[in-house]
Symmetry: D2
C-alpha cells in the first residue's frame, strides 16, 4: 500500500503495561503525533489555523488491534487522508513493526474543522492533501 | 438507558491538552479503568485469570466523540457487555458529564480471551455478565 | 503527622508498568492532581489567577520513593504548604497506602508565582494557606 | 559539560498541558527513556538482568525546572552516571533545547539494584559505566 506520509517511532518502556505490551490507549497518542507531523510537513500549522479561529477536531476513532508492540520495538506509521463527506475527512493510519513490516494496527480517525462561527467545514489547506 | 455498571470519575488537569480539553487518547484510559472496575466488582480477577493463562485482549475500539470534557468536569461512565460472536464480546460504554448528563462519548470496545493454548474463547465468568 | 489537606485515590491499571508497579513519573501526576484539589478546596482558582495573569509554576521537585504502589492499591496523599523564601513556597506531600498507612513517597515540590510583569511573587490567597 | 551519552527527542503535542507547555511529569518520562537507551547502548539489558533476578529501581529524584519546553521543540538530554555510595548510583541528566542549547532541566536520579536475595547492590555492568 502507498501512503502520503510515513513516520518511524520507537516504543518507550513507560508506554508498556503490566502485560509487557504497549497499552491500548498509547496507540492513539502515536496516531495523533504522526497526524500532526504529517500536517506540519504539509505546511499546516495549528497555531496559524487557530489564529484564524479554525479548530481541527476528532469526531470518531476506529482502531483494529492486530498484534501488540513490545518494549524495544521500532515501528512506522503510514498515513493517507480522504474526504468522507462535504464536511468530514478520514485519516487512514496503519502501524507496522519495522523489523518485519508486520501489521500492528489499522485505524480510521474521522475529523472535521470548526470555523470562527462554530460551523463544520474543511479548510482548503487540508483539501489539498486528500488523495480522493 | 440502563447499564449493568456505572462509575463516576473527575477530570485531572494533566489529562487536558493545549486546547484546554481532555486529550482524545485519555478517554481510552477512562474506558479501560471502568471496564476493570466493572470486572473486579463482578468477581473477575485478571491476576487469577492470567494464572489460569487466560488473557483478555482488546481487538477493536470504536469511539464517537460527541462533546469534550474540560478541567474540573466530573463525569460518569455506563457499561454493558454483550456477546457479539461465539468468541467475541462488546463492551458498550457511554460517558456523560455529571452536572447535566450531557452525552460526551459513545464507545464500543470489542474483546476476546485467549486460553492457555492461544485459542480465542469466552470465559464462563464473563458470559455471566452479558446482557444479551 | 498532621496535614492541611488529605485526598484519597486508587491506582489505575494503565498507570502500572512492565514490573507491575506504578511507573515513577505517574506519582508526579498524583501529586499535581492533589495540589490542584487542595487549592480548589481553598478557593484558589487557576483560571481566575490566570485571568489576573498570575501563573503558578513548579521550579523544583524532590521525591523519595520508599515503596511501590501496585495495581488495585488505594492510597492517600497528605499535603502541607510552607513558605521557603520571600518568593518561593514548598508543597510537602506524603503518599501512604490506605490498607496499612505504609509510607510510599515523601515529596517536596517547590513553586513560585509569576505576576503580569513576569516577576516572581506569592499571591495573598496562597499565603493564607501556609502553615509556617 | 561532557556527557557519557546524549540523545535527541521532540516534544509531542499530547505531552503539553493547558498552559501550552510540557507537563511537569512528562520530563520524568523523557529522563527514563534516555536512561534506558543509554543502558541499552552500553549493553545492559533489563530483561537479562531481571532473568538473573537483579532489578534496577529509582529511590530518589531531584529535578530543577529551569525553562519550559513547548509544542514543536526539539531537545537533547545529556547523561552521566556516578557512584554515590557503596550501593547507590546517581544519573545526572540535563535537558537542553536543541535550537539554542538553552538549559531546560537539571536532574539527579538516584538508583540502586536489588539482587535475588532482595539486597541492594551495584551490578558490575553498571560500575563500568560510572565516570567516578
Amino acid at each position: 500500500m502507498e501512503y502520503a506520509f510515513t513516520f518511524e517511532m520507537k516504543v518507550r518502556d513507560y508506554e508498556c503495561d503490566i502485560q509487557g505490551i504497549v497499552n491500548n490507549a498509547v496507540y492513539q497518542n502515536y496516531l495523533e503525533h504522526v497526524r500532526h507531523e504529517f500536517l506540519l510537513e504539509s505546511g499546516i500549522d495549528f497555531a496559524a489555523l487557530a489564529a484564524e479561529q479554525i479548530n481541527l477536531i476528532v469526531i470518531r476513532a476506529e482502531m483494529d488491534y492486530k498484534f501488540p508492540l513490545r518494549s524495544g520495538d521500532t515501528f512506522w506509521i503510514g498515513v493517507n487522508v480522504v474526504k468522507s463527506s462535504r464536511i468530514k475527512f478520514d485519516f487512514l493510519q496503519d502501524i507496522y513493526r519495522s523489523s518485519d513490516d508486520k501489521l500492528i494496527m489499522k485505524a480510521k480517525i474521522t475529523g472535521t474543522a470548526m470555523n470562527e462561527r462554530g460551523r463544520p467545514m474543511i479548510p482548503d489547506v487540508l483539501s489539498n492533501l486528500m488523495t480522493d
